[in-house]
Symmetry: C2
Subunit: 154 residues, 2 copies
Amino acid sequence: MAKDDRPAVAPRMPGHLIRRLHQVSTRVFGQRLKAAGIDLTPIQFAALDALRAHPGIDQAGLAEAVAKDRATIGGVADRLEQKGLVTRIVSERDRRARELTLSEAGRRILAAAEPVVTALQHEILPGLNEAEYAQFVALAAKAAAAAEEGDTTA
Amino acid sequence: MAKDDRPAVAPRMPGHLIRRLHQVSTRVFGQRLKAAGIDLTPIQFAALDALRAHPGIDQAGLAEAVAKDRATIGGVADRLEQKGLVTRIVSERDRRARELTLSEAGRRILAAAEPVVTALQHEILPGLNEAEYAQFVALAAKAAAAAEEGDTTA
DNA sequence: GCAGTATGGTATGTATACATATCATATCGG
DNA sequence: CCGATATGATATGTATACATACCATACTGC
C-alpha cells in the first residue's frame, strides 16, 4: 500500500484556490480594520454598505444583496444591532419583516471603514500587477453574476 | 438624512467577489457530492487528497498543506477519524505529533470523490469560457502562491 | 372568508476559520 | 544537565455559512 502516492490534485482546482484566497481576504481584512481601530467583519461591512444603498430594506432583501442566506443575515443583524450600528423595526407594511436602517454610529463607522477597506483590496491579490488585478476582478465578477443568474439559490 | 444613498461599493471589490465565489463553490461541492452519495466537505476532501500525497504527515504539516490553521485541522482530523477515513497515531519520533494516514475506507472514498470533484470545478465559475476559466485559475494560483510567500502566516 | 401555500424570521445543529491561552514535549544555549 | 524557547496539539470563544424545521403573517383561489 501507500502505492498511489501522487501529487495532490486539489491545490490546482479553482474551488481550492478560491478557498485559500478567501482565507487571505478574511485575514487581511481583519488585520487592517483592527489596526484602524474598527471592529467589523467583512460581512458586517458589506451589510452596512448595502444598507446605505438601500435604507429600510428587510432582512430577506439584505440577504439577497450580500449573502443569500436568511439565517446567517439574522445573526449578522443581531450583532450590528447590538453594536448600535443599525436599527431594526417591525415593518408596518408586513408585520413579519424587520426593516433595517443605519444608525448615526453605523454611518460613521462605515465612513471610517470604507477607505481602509478600499486600500486593502490589492493586498488580497498579492503578486498580481494592475492589469492582472483588473482581469481577475472582471472574471470573478462575471462568474459571480452568472452564478446568481442561473441559480436563484434554487 | 438618508442623504448619502449611493450604490453599494462592496460588490465590486475582490474581497467581496471572492467571498461569493467561495459560497458558490461550497454549495456546488456539497450538492454534487451528496448527489453522488458521498459525505465529504471541501476541506475534508482536500485533507484526504493531501494525505494520499504525504502519508504519515502530522497535523501541522497537513495544516501547512491545506489550511494554514492547526486548530481548524484538529477538528477536521477529528471528523475524518470518526468516519474511519484516517488513522491517527502518536509519532514515535515526536510524542507531541499525531501522524495521519489514509485508511482503506479513506482511500476508497477519495477515489470515488475525485472524479466528481474534478467534474464540478467548471460549475464554480459559470459563465466563463475555457480561456477565461484557464486565465482565472492562473491568476488565482499566482495570487495564492504570492500570499504564501510573503506571509508564512506571520 | 377560509384553506392552501408562500414568505419573513428564528432556532438548532454541523462545519469551517481563526485568535488566544494552555499543556506537553523537543531542542538549543551554555 | 538545565533553563529558555520553540513547537504540536487541544480548549475556548466568536463569527460566518447553510440545512432543516418551525412559527407568524401574507396572499391566492375558490
